[in-house]
Amino acid sequence: MTFFPFQLPAANPQVAMVAAVLVGFGFGFVLERAGFGNARKLLGQFYGTDMVMLKVMFTAIVTAILGTVVLAGVGLLDLRALADGVSSETFLWPMIAGGLLIGVGIVASGYCPGTSLVGIASGKLDALLAYAGVVLGQLLWAELEFRGPIARFHRSGAFGHVYLYDLLRVPAPALAAGVVLMAIGAFLFGEKVERMVTKAPAGPGPTARNRVFAGVVAFGAVGLATLLLPVATAARAVPAGRIAPEELARRVLSEPWKVRVLDVRPMDACTKERVPGAECTPPAMLKDLSLADVSPARDLVVVGEGDLAQAPAEIRAYRGRVLVLDRGYEGWRAWALTPPALPGEGAAPSALETYRLRAGIQSALTGVKAAPPPPTPAAGGAPVQRKAGGGGCSG
């Protein structure tokens, strides 16, 4: 069971509003105290005098990575579900182009959108103009982004939700430990550049820095240690979610390459009829699929005879998302293979829409596949009459 993220704010708009203001308050306060409301201080990053952007941003990223990875390691958080919900999908080329533009924009304006808010709060006119520029730029691109070739570029390099631990095929805690080491290396290099550019002698041992380094290394090690916990093996494998027949039908029809359906009913039941594209994998065969080692890019959907409380252990070892079909094949049969009831007079448009969808899927899945009724053989088994002549090319 995972406890995070809490769903409370979603249920109550007032709580969500207050929570958003509180999070923003913390963000703005820390940005200001780090010196990001001061454009000249921030720009020290790009002139080598003060690597404050590298230090603050990268320490923040490392801290948040370690927090999520350790919580996920002990089973309190579903890391992939959180990431899918919070981060945007990868569109590689526009993201690189946008990053280059933002890099130019930060150095030209002295702010990034977040720090310009803090600059405004500190009374800086240039910050206000920079944010006005942001509004203008967003509007400009919103006018263009859906037109012709620009729209194609805007959607290019689409890889969906893809994470560094998928690309490198390592567990998330191992990747987090790697990021910690990389960050410490980058910090030491940044400080060396600062000393070279400002020609200042190395000051007395910066104890705060060393404590932070020790802290992130310790948490990185805790993250790695969760890999050894027996309980964590079950926790790391994402707890199975549920998928309704309707959603499964949509996915196998519209994006079959993103989903893999495993039918764990007995072999003969599965070979007779199954969800389109499903593999027949009775429980005894599951270990041959070595699901723990295959790429976790596709979502796995498990189909049982009836409702499965939990996916089999071999499937839970899969590193990607596992979904259990609601009410199993029974549910599929009832939803997709049974003609839906006709909606009554004056039914809501949404009910009509659902009816059309179900009727369409039902006829596509049953009508096309069902063989036409066999012709009744003539009594006496008369031999088939060949045409005597006339017509046709053989005539």
Binding site: F25, F29, A34, V56, V135, L136, G137, Q138
Partner: protein, 170 residues
């Protein structure tokens, strides 16, 4: 004594910011961001003067059609960011009206580049589906591959420009 030139240790500030981000993940199920509200302001403003034009531009129409386009997580987050910055700047003795620029830069150059740079930030944030906080920080800490590519591109773009505009800052 309040010293306007004294900032937090950057590593401790980074830990504090990471904890704010973690709290946003865990208790709200969202991240940080600052560019999102900008387009909402633009859509609401434009809807008031030219509603037919807004209807013809899908990304704007999509926002303007919401019953309350400004009652949004990122708008309140931005409001909180302003408030937090206000309290921090005031208590540190750094709240002073003015323009930040290098000693030899002209006011016109500085203000022109502030707007021009801001436009690039706005376009870039739209292209990349987030700005430095919404995409690099929020997605980067969730190890999203696109966010990391974006982050390196920011530094590349910044270093490529720094020499050209050095008169603005040095």
């Amino acid at each position: 004594m309040r010293d306007p030139d004294r900032y937090w240790n950057p590593y401790l500030a980074g830990v504090a910011m990471g904890l704010v981000l973690l709290a946003a993940y865990l208790f709200v199920g969202k991240g940080l961001g600052a560019s999102g509200p900008a387009l909402r302001f633009a859509a609401v403003g434009l809807e008031a003067v030219a509603p037919s034009h807004v209807g013809a531009v899908p990304p704007l129409a999509h926002l303007a059609e919401e019953p309350t386009p400004l009652a949004n997580y990122f708008v309140f987050l931005g409001l909180g960011t302003l408030l937090g910055g206000l309290v921090a700047a005031y208590t540190a003795g750094r709240m002073r009206a003015g323009v930040t620029k290098g000693p030899t830069a002209s006011l016109g150059l500085r203000l022109g580049l502030a707007v021009g740079g801001g436009v690039l930030l706005g376009v870039g944030a739209r292209l990349a589906r987030g700005c430095a906080s919404g995409q690099a920080l929020t997605g980067g800490a969730l190890l999203s591959a696109g966010s990391w590519a974006f982050m390196f591109a920011i530094f590349a773009g910044g270093y490529a420009t720094a020499w050209i505009v050095r008169r603005e800052w040095r």
